[in-house]
Symmetry: C2
Subunit: 329 residues, 2 copies
């Protein structure tokens, strides 16, 4: 059975409706009402919108459900970097009329599994027809931080802390998807990316010392450069972030190779923070107390750009929605 | 110049950025940060997401800017029916790499004109590539109403009030787009649909007496039936809503024709309310004091379905994203 053979109305009422969470406490509106109402859960509300064509996240080893999970994770990740606890999700999507109902349902399942994992209530959305299927995820979160860190606040002398583990998506970018599909460690570590919500809590607790922060969705190198550029500072990187152990084997320990795989990936969903020197000890203690994976990789310098110690030059690529993989520096 | 020839990054920074509003007072995050933060403007927050493929709202007489305006109006309309004042907009979109930069810019202009008209601040969004261009609009609004009306609260004895004016889109549906394109009154009244924000204020002021409410986006007939069905009541319609004067000429005053054009349109963005009898006087006084266009069209009855006085039977169509125009009853 294809979507075009059942109506949008029966898809929404018969399939989509069962994945939606009930309304929050003290709320009155509920799907299929065209909006949701809620009482804020913290003084400051944070909203993000993250969309993607399904094709662009559909790695050869990802099912439709895996692709949907990845899009949901990307949306959640934007909150973590901004000290926000994601709470509610709204999903609009465009599905092809010749898509099977089973395939559409596996997309809903992937989204639902991700939202459940992250403790996010899926409240509503909108269904459309599209020959080039897409998903747009709006996440509403809340933060107790008086000042959520922007990407542009890094100051000279700040220490650069990078959470998460790198190199798997970098391997896929460097060696191509065919080669990557044969590497179990790459497939396992990229099939369903995981966002660590505890990092958001640590940032909220330390918002005064986290001068800048940004999540790693388009590659670590791009994220570092973007923080440097928008903060009008430079970054000196003294050591790689945490890497999968297989990366050391693949690279035979060579620094240039380690950095290439670390910096040019995407969807790792760690967070890059520029932390005030005086607040660093407390930030690291809080990350340790939550068992968050991180590495102190360098510091903010006065000169512009990105300098990686031990390398003559650094190539950074990023994924561009219109232009594909492009050289960034 | 086509989008595929410039990068997403230069499109965002060189074109999109200039349409975005600055951050709200007391906010810290600002585009290109991946999220926006704000302090709620009223006790209750209301969020809606409304998306559309551009092709599906691109009437022959609509420019790309008109189509974008229409999608923005549809998103704003969901708030009005729920007693909410729309405040912030987030737009994700998928644009085709072979779309010209000028065409993409006219879409942004149409969105911006609509948001400016409605007093909504456009805070951020996300750009993607799509062979079948689409726009998804998330609107955050606020309401002082303790209980925003759902579509399912209509009770026997309630009076049905319909705001807005009807028949132009109904004409286009009944006679086809080629014929409609020759009628100046149809073109002028459907090119850029207008949402009346004051209706939202009246509902917020009278939330205790407005037992149910829903905006008219998929046709008035469908909206009436949907309120009846989800409230588990029937509706008796005794007179048509306000109609464009040309509808009377086209129909030669025949009741069946008047109702056909009134009930089977779409995108009129009026609101259907089921109002408590005892609160009716106050609701109508408030609508009058704002000069809102409305008509009292009938009342809620105990039997199911929709009965239109003076007609033997009623045909209701609705637009279905997967199945096209379908007969609803």
């Amino acid at each position: 059975m294809k979507l075009g053979e059942i109506s949008e109305k029966s898809f929404i009422e018969g399939v989509l409706a069962k994945y939606l969470a009930g309304k929050p406490a003290l709320s009155h509106l509920e799907f299929p009402d065209d909006a949701s109402d809620f009482i804020p859960l913290a003084p400051r509300t944070v909203v993000s919108v993250d969309a993607s064509s399904i094709a662009s996240v559909k790695l050869p080893w990802r099912s439709m459900g895996d692709a949907a999970w990845s899009i949901a994770s990307g949306a959640v990740s934007d909150h973590v970097a901004k000290a926000s606890r994601p709470a509610y999700a709204f999903v609009s999507m465009g599905l092809a009329p010749d898509m099977s109902v089973e395939e559409a349902e596996s997309i809903l399942e992937g989204l639902n599994q991700a939202f459940t994992h992250y403790g996010v209530k899926w409240l509503g959305g909108d269904t459309n027809s599209s020959r080039d299927p897409w998903i747009s995820v709006t996440i509403v979160g809340f933060t107790t931080a008086k000042k959520p860190p922007s990407r542009r606040g890094a100051r000279e002398g700040d220490v650069i802390v990078v959470t998460g583990r790198y190199g798997a998506m970098g391997y896929a970018v460097a060696r191509g998807f065919n080669e990557a599909a044969r590497q179990t460690w790459v497939v396992e570590n990229t099939r369903r990316p995981l966002v660590d919500l505890r990092v958001g809590t640590v940032i909220a607790l330390n918002y005064k010392s986290v001068h800048a922060s940004m999540d790693v969705s388009d590659g670590l190198g791009y994220t570092l450069l973007e923080i440097a550029r928008s903060s009008n500072v430079g970054l000196k990187i003294r050591r790689p972030p945490l890497l999968y152990k297989e990366v050391y084997e693949v690279c035979d320990g060579k620094l240039e190779c380690l950095y290439e795989l670390a910096l040019n990936g995407g969807e790792e969903y760690g967070v890059v923070m520029a932390v005030d020197k005086d607040g660093l000890k407390k930030v690291l203690e809080d990350l340790d107390s939550y068992d968050v994976e991180y590495e102190v990789v360098g510091e903010v310098s006065s000169g512009g750009g990105l300098i990686v110690e031990g390398l003559a030059s650094t190539r950074i690529y990023r994924w561009d929605q219109f232009a594909g993989y492009v050289k960034y520096i």
